[in-house]
């Protein structure tokens, strides 16, 4: 890693001011460091300063109760995974947290860092490949080795977003709170991510200079809501998703009254499929409905030369995830 100065602020305002200070050189935020440090070791990032968020108390609280869910951005995945309240009422999030990486990573990786992590595309992760995402002119995966790349929403960059928590949180109608010197703003998590075609090339999120994710919130689930996160890995022990499905449904009187479906590992952003959701509402959640929802979700998929398998794979995952919620 390149040398840097490590700053340990004790308040959020200090941290924000440090990030905004132009005299500091290239500045990056340090949370769990489980992604940032690997980027720095590969010289994909070489900040002059790291601003540590762990020295600020009170950013890691988990409140899971009758008022809804509020998780401080510095809460670790291990803490989230073990929280009984989260598991009971925001099950997809609990399952997503438990599916991330390995126990060693989960013990210190944070929810904020997980949502903001950079992609795993092997061209992106190699310093020698000066790809589109890093300021070059070509997405090498597009015409190259693209087995792990996007089948939906891709172009001109074909990365898949690697976060497990993001699709689960989208299926739970989560919002993210951002703080800067200008104040706070809250937006739907779906809106936090930017498609490459909308400019999300060198960055994947709307996070601005001097802005910090401080909390993730989700509403109290509608009575009777069940949610799940299903992650398919090439290597079960420790891997990113080859494809993943987050789903939540409310079933009343034998019919679906509400559905959320969000895919991971197949698109540059967590891929919410409203067409499939709409198709389910008012119907019995049976094999036929699940199959139709899966078809609808993958309509418009544009596989590349080597990742066509993600289409039947994702359909299977969607069908099974939905049926697992049928009760």
């Amino acid at each position: 890693m390149k040398s840097f100065r490590l700053l340990n602020p004790t308040t959020l305002d200090e941290a924000i001011a440090l990030c905004a200070d132009p005299k500091g050189g290239v500045t990056k935020l340090l949370a769990g460091g489980q992604d940032l440090l690997t980027e720095m070791k590969e010289h994909l990032a070489g900040p002059d300063r790291l601003v540590n968020l762990k020295s600020i108390p009170g950013l890691d609280a988990i409140e899971a109760g009758a008022a809804g869910l509020r998780i401080g951005a510095l809460a670790t995945l291990a803490k989230i995974e073990r929280d009984a309240g989260v598991r009971a009422n925001w099950t997809a999030l609990s399952q997503a947290a438990a599916s991330v990486a390995s126990p060693q990573i989960r013990s210190c990786a944070t929810i904020g860092g997980n949502l903001c992590q950079r992609p795993r595309c092997w061209y992106y992760r190699m310093e020698e490949a000066h790809c589109l995402k890093k300021g070059g002119t070509e997405c090498f995966a597009y015409g190259g080795l693209n087995k792990y790349s996007a089948i939906l929403g891709g172009g001109p960059s074909y990365i898949v977003h690697p976060s497990d928590l993001a699709p689960a949180l989208v299926a739970l109608d989560a919002e993210v709170t951002l703080r800067s010197a200008k104040g706070e703003r809250k937006l739907a998590l779906e809106k936090f991510y930017v498609l490459p075609e909308d400019g999300g090339i060198e960055k994947e999120t709307v996070l601005a200079d001097g802005e910090i994710v401080t909390a993730i919130t989700a509403p109290v689930p509608v009575a009777g809501m069940r949610s799940t996160y299903s992650k398919f890995k090439e290597r079960d022990s420790f891997d990113f998703a080859l494809s993943a499905v987050a789903a939540s449904v409310v079933i009343a009187g034998g019919k679906v009254t509400r559905a959320r479906l969000c895919l991971g590992g197949v698109a540059p952003v967590p891929w919410r499929v409203e067409a499939a959701e709409a198709l389910l509402v008012g119907r019995t959640l049976d094999a036929q409905a699940a199959r139709e929802a899966a078809e609808a979700a993958l309509r418009g998929a544009e596989p590349l030369a080597q990742n066509g398998f993600k289409v039947p794979l994702t359909k299977t995952l969607i069908e099974r995830a939905l049926l697992s919620l049928a009760g």
Binding site: M1, S3, E128, F238, P312, T316, R320
Partner: protein
């Protein structure tokens, strides 16, 4: 035998290892009765489960490896290796590197790297951080030159030349093509299929490297991670310009080899050069990325197999057209047909050179590749003929050594029993691709030599205080060498295992074979037994003089030393007996005794898998090995060794393979995130059975056979489960879905 008698000589065949690859040579040895191992039922330590004597050091993190060595004044060295397969170095700022605080040396090594990963420069510094800064300061600029890094790119006529010779080598042929094709035509059914295996990495957890401790003067110590301690130190001495006797090689523990750690290597040469110039100790251990690029690999292959048989299942004809991918080297591939006997055969094998590091020996070099193709083709033919998958194998093991054929048949039956073949519904046809869990079974065979040769020199020392040590400058890769050295000696002297200390890994001890080709056990164990036996004889001679009793009457038992010919029976404790020794104790040497070892390690494996046709997921549920091993020295270590081999085959079959982008010339998965080893959730239930039908009272090395059959057995099991025949490793979900026709 009087001193005037000249012992008769006899000729025997022994393995000869060059860089871990085994061939056979004939040698002459004395024809004297060698000695035999005791009757198995009388063995107290050997043939039992013995906990590893170096287990406590390893489990507590106290075992010291080359990577861990710290000596005063030591500097850390790092390499800059070529990220491109062929390039010209246009700029390399060695001066800037030298000016970086903490950097003590920066040297250029290569102006025009011709293979991906070839070292271009080296930097040495006082800290690991400064060494990294030094590398960055080089600010290299490379001009890409034409390269060839894949089969298509390297074998086409206009391909850029990798070396002086043409990329596509001349075919090495064997057999009669016309006859083989005639036999194929006359077959009741025949199949043609192309099988592809990628380059696999050794992925030793401890990377290659060395600490060269030279501080000026006329001697040096090298702490090496190697499979051949004496050889390594000898090469280091040459590089340092010192006499071999002045360079002490130390290799007490090493973190895995699997065939990849023979010879000083480029990294060792560079470390020696730096240490010589700086007159300071140099620690040079490859980073994980450099290890993937230049640490060696198992060659890839493409094999097109045409195989035909009779209606009853006899193999009549085979034509095997193969290519070896060994980087800038020739690669390796065991000859087809692999193990099975086919009536008329023809094979043609060609090397395809590429701008990639040369392949090296890797656990059974060339065998897993050949096995995968042969076993897969055999199943495909069996389905075409409608013949039972187990029976076709038993029917076609007709090699020249009938004992091996009988062993394979017996082992196949046992493996089939363990895997649940009797009640399995799909014996002649694959199962349907329905539901979420399709169960399949696959079989495959292993074959190996595993005999030893005469190059181990062992010393056993008995001290006056009763302590005993067995010494040899050999290595323990995790193979359990230390433990059986102690056990053999303890068995011989009637001592508990803890009563003997095995000392290895120093060139100040006797010579040893390199640990490759599974020859260590067959070479070392007999020499240890010989040394222990000689020590016992010398002890008996000594006690005979002290106690005035016939030497031949002494017996060394766990309860103490007795003499059958003593008037009044007495038991003398070991401690008391040793107390009568002179101050310098007792020393005995041992050398190889050919009757204590033998060659021949056939084995059979069976695998059960569950395939999910909806996702392509393959779960390996159970792997069974039935292995002939001669006399087991340590059953617990054998179990670990055999399971370990099966797990390496599991990775080979289901998740491993080097990936190179042919256009950009980049190694895409030079890390443990994208080069996927099996971890805990991938490990199936494992059953390791030592073939009870093998009653040979001689030791055989079995490091290699257990890794051979797994990939073929797994591929067969997947096809058997649901009809998904994947002919290219690794068998990942995408390939299964494609084989099932689910990817349009």
């Amino acid at each position: 035998m009087s001193l005037q008698d000249t012992p008769k000589k006899k000729k025997i065949k022994v393995p000869k290892i060059v860089n871990g690859i085994e061939s056979e040579v004939e040698i002459e040895v004395d024809d004297v009765p060698g000695g035999t191992w005791p009757e198995r039922s009388s063995l107290r330590l050997l043939n039992h489960d013995l906990p590893r004597v170096d287990g406590p050091e390893k489990a507590s993190g106290r075992a010291r490896y080359a990577h861990d060595v710290r000596v005063p004044g030591m500097v850390y060295a790092r390499l800059y290796v070529s990220p491109l397969p062929h390039a010209r170095v246009k700029k390399l700022d060695l001066d800037a590197a030298r000016k970086v605080p903490g950097v003590v040396a920066a040297i250029g090594l290569q102006d025009e790297p011709k293979w991906l990963g070839e070292p271009i420069a080296a930097v040495a510094a006082e800290s690991v951080e400064a060494a990294e800064d030094g590398l960055r300061a080089l600010a290299p600029q490379l001009e890409a030159l034409p390269w060839a890094v894949d089969h298509a790119g390297a074998s086409r006529p206009e391909a850029p030349r990798v070396a002086k010779d043409e990329n596509l080598g001349k075919p090495e042929t064997n057999g009669d093509e016309a006859k083989a094709r005639g036999a194929l035509k006359a077959s009741a059914a025949s199949i043609t299929a192309m099988y592809t295996v990628p380059i696999q990495h050794h992925a030793c957890l401890e990377t290659h490297g060395v600490v060269v401790d030279y501080r000026g003067g006329d001697e040096a110590t090298v702490y090496c991670s190697t499979q051949q301690t004496h050889g390594f130190a000898g090469e280091a001495a040459k590089e340092l310009g010192l006499p071999g006797s002045q360079v002490h090689g130390l290799n007490e523990h090493m973190g895995g080899g699997f065939g990849g750690k023979f010879g000083l290597g480029l990294e060792g040469q560079i470390a020696c050069r730096l240490s010589k110039e700086l007159k300071r100790p140099v620690h040079l251990m490859l980073t994980r990325r450099d290890e993937f690029l230049m640490g060696g690999n198992r060659s890839g292959t493409i094999q097109t197999i045409e195989l035909g048989g009779s209606a009853a299942g006899d193999l009549l004809g085979m034509v095997a057209t193969s290519f070896k991918h060994g980087g800038i080297g020739r690669g390796s591939l065991a000859g087809q047909p692999y193990i099975y006997t086919v009536g008329d055969t023809y094979r043609a094998v060609r090397s395809v050179l590429m701008n990639l590091d040369a392949s090296r020996a890797m656990r059974a070099p060339g065998h897993p590749q050949a096995s995968f193709a042969m076993e897969s083709a055999l199943d495909e033919l069996a389905y075409a003929l409608g013949v039972d998958l187990l029976e076709i194998r038993k029917r076609n093991v007709k090699g020249p050594e009938s004992w091996r054929n009988e062993a394979w048949k017996r082992q196949l039956d046992r493996a089939a029993q363990e895997i649940g073949w009797a009640t399995h519904p799909h014996k002649t046809k694959p199962g349907p691709a329905t539901g979420t869990e399709c169960i399949g079974i696959g079989f495959a065979l292993a074959n190996w030599g595993g005999g030893g040769r005469k190059d181990c020199e062992v010393e056993v020392r008995i001290e006056r205080d009763g302590s005993v040590s067995a010494l040899c400058g050999t290595q323990d890769l995790g193979t359990g060498t230390r433990t059986y050295m102690a056990a053999i000696t303890a068995e011989e002297l009637g001592l508990p295992l803890a009563g003997v200390t095995a000392r290895i890994g120093s060139t100040r001890m006797g010579n040893s074979v390199g640990s490759g080709g599974s020859v260590t056990t067959g070479s070392l164990a007999p020499a240890v037994k010989d040394a222990a036996s000689n020590a016992r004889a010398l002890m008996a001679d000594h006690l005979a003089r002290v106690m005035n009793l016939p030497a031949a009457g002494f017996r060394f038992l766990p309860e103490g030393i007795v003499n059958d010919q003593a008037k009044a029976p007495t038991v003398m404790t070991w401690a008391k007996a040793c107390a009568t020794l002179p101050a310098e104790g007792l020393r005995a040497n041992g050398k190889w005794v050919d009757t204590l070892q033998t060659s021949g390690a056939p084995g059979a494996q069976a695998v059960r898998v569950a395939v999910d046709p909806g996702t392509g997921r393959v779960r390996v549920l159970h792997m069974v090995s039935v292995q002939a091993i001669g006399l087991p020295l340590n059953r617990l270590a054998l179990k670990s060794q055999i399971q370990g081999g099966m797990i390496q085959a599991l990775g080979y079959a289901t998740s491993e393979g080097r990936v190179i982008d042919p256009v950009l010339g980049l190694h895409m998965n030079a890390n443990f995130e994208e080069y996927k080893l099996p971890h805990a959730l991938e490990i199936p239930r494992m059953t390791s059975i030592l073939d009870e039908g093998d009653t040979r009272n001689a030791v055989v090395g079995v490091g290699e056979p257990p890794v051979i059959p797994g990939a073929g057995a797994i591929a067969n099991a997947v096809a058997n489960a649901c009809g998904a025949r994947v002919r290219e490793l690794p068998i990942t979900p995408d390939k299964v879905l494609m084989a099932l026709g689910k990817v349009v």
